[in-house]
Symmetry: C2
Subunit: 360 residues, 2 copies
């Protein structure tokens, strides 16, 4: 399905045109440290090289590449943020090296191929926003055969968690429904119209909102009640859009905490800066968005709530099959489906349960 560019702009790009939003990313120390160290601890990848920054935003990564010794940096940005990037480049005296180009990566024509592609393309749970498509497109068109991707690898993770969010959201839903019943009564009494036929759709709409949409959360590591599993690995040099469009994974998780509740699952990601096989990084850098006390990120984790939450014990196992597809209405949002089977340490298996969620 072709994407309407105007709609995509209204739904997606518009937010990136605000300095407010760029600043949020620029204030994420974990993110900034990872990219900063990746560049400056691997200057040999940049010195005298031609670099492409896909989605330069404020221009920060492009400026770093120039400071690390790049010969030329093409910094492509779809929104009007490109004007600010151009100012920032100039103010930091790298305007002889960094060329800011306003346009969408898919349409821009560069005068030459590049040695390195750098990009901060990761959305919630890695793939939300589907921006990696644009990086793939840039790579296939503009990266030299022996070029390097920054980052070079990415992984999606999933773990079982406990959380009070489920009770909270369930409570919100109940409040919303109480309010609705009151509304139905008032509307019947005062205005002679019986709204009861809409009770079910109203409940569905709110259930979807409160319970069936993944939640942004920065979890404490002790909320993770089992060993996390890798559900997808991406080699940024090789991946195709066909390989990332859907994510399917069958995996099992073991619970490592006694007498707790499985409130749901949390998804997060990490990315790695390892250079390429022929041209490896001198210092390999990792950026992780896993639950952490001190190193939280603006990505947090995505929480998928199970309601009601089953009781679990140490040694229980979960067999999970996971499917993530793109939303039909908006290719930058995702639909997620879990089927899990709980096997108690006694060997007893509960029947499989399927839950569907949106990532919005």
């Amino acid at each position: 399905a072709a994407v309407d560019k105007g709609v995509d702009f209204a739904n997606y790009f518009c937010t990136y045109a605000f300095l407010y939003h760029q600043k949020e990313m620029l204030s994420d120390r974990v993110r900034m440290d990872a990219y900063y160290n990746a560049v400056f601890q691997n200057k040999h990848h940049f010195r005298g090289k031609v670099v492409l920054d896909v989605g330069t935003g404020s221009g920060i990564l492009a400026i770093w590449c120039a400071q690390a010794g790049a010969k030329k940096v093409y910094a492509v940005e779809a929104t009007k943020m490109s004007d600010h990037a151009r100012e920032l480049v100039k103010a930091n005296n790298v305007d002889d090296i960094v060329e800011v180009i306003e346009g969408s990566m898919e349409e821009v024509i560069l005068p030459e191929k590049v040695d390195v592609i750098i990009s901060e393309w990761m959305g919630y749970f890695l793939l939300r926003e589907s921006m990696f498509d644009s990086v793939i497109c840039a790579r296939d068109r503009w990266l030299k055969p022996d070029g390097i991707m920054y980052p070079s690898h990415a992984r999606m993770w999933m773990a079982p968690i406990r959380s009070s969010l489920g009770d909270q959201k369930m409570n919100d839903l109940e409040c919303a429904m109480n309010d609705w019943y009151n509304f139905v009564e008032v509307t019947e009494t005062h205005y002679g119209v019986n709204m009861n036929v809409l009770t079910k759709p109203y409940h569905e709409e709110h259930e979807k909102y409160y319970l069936k949409t993944s939640l942004w959360n920065n979890l404490h590591p002790n909320q993770v009640i089992g060993t996390p599993a890798i559900i997808k690995e991406i080699d940024c040099l090789m991946a195709t859009v066909d390989e990332i469009r859907d994510v399917t994974s069958k995996f099992s998780l073991s619970i490592n905490m006694d007498r707790t509740r499985l409130s749901g699952f949390a998804g997060w990601f990490d990315v790695h800066f390892r250079g390429s096989m022929q041209n490896p990084a001198m210092h390999k850098i990792e950026l992780t968005t896993a639950p952490s006390v001190d190193n939280t990120t603006h990505w947090g984790q995505q929480v998928f709530l199970l309601y009601p939450p089953p009781r679990v014990n140490e040694g229980d196992r979960l067999m999970i099959s996971f499917l993530m597809t793109r939303s039909k209405e908006n290719h930058r949002l995702m639909d997620v489906e879990f089927t899990y089977e709980l096997q108690h340490s006694s060997g007893k298996r509960l029947p499989p349960v399927t839950s569907k969620f949106c990532i919005e």
Copy 2:
């Protein structure tokens, strides 16, 4: 400029597809009472008549028209809310009379002309959302020559106000800027990039957000410090899009409170159900969104802040010229420009001041 339908849907219609949003309107007692009384106290306008409900949403107005004795009601709705409207119509046993049509009013073909057009098309400060355009289009195509409009008239009001919102927003802006200066320092120290060149645009972005965008507020009547003025009157039977696209008005306001500050201006509207000249209402109904203690509406008032707020006294006069145009990026949003001249009761005149705002 032609409007991209997909973009218009992403920016505007989408919210109306949620029952949550329809319920907000259906829970507005002032709004509901006005339309309910307008219909049921003027049954002669509906009995045996053909009615068109422009933007039926949940279907509420269409159902009332049927209950009041209409022979046929065409209920047009652009969003998927039309499915719910159809269910509601059926559950309330008027599906032999009300025909719900999913489509945009501009494109729908009706099998006949209608006697009455009813619509709840009013946005913040009356014209936000520009939905009255669709009502005009419906009227020109489908209303019989002697047909009636519900509502029949609309007016925009403006008054000088005092409010602590200005100080609050000014404080928010200062906090945002302190945070920014801190961010500039960190980014320079830790990441070797000087962001200072973006300080001015950052300030502008936030000033626009906090001070140059009108605010939704339900004012207390004692916050109004002068006599409100009517700045626009619309006869819904006669108005053309050309007449409502821009609103210009020169008017004067007198301050009727001593030793206070002119924090800004508030805009609101009322609409009237008076029928037509040849076929007047038996009971004229008014729906006002003016500041009120007991009869607040979901529309509230739109507040345009002046900063710094000039000191004013009883007997001072304000000469104002007002201009409202549609935003270039989105025809459903507005740009507003005020020029005011303060004349103290002593006769002394202060130089004119111009302020610009967005209604978002």
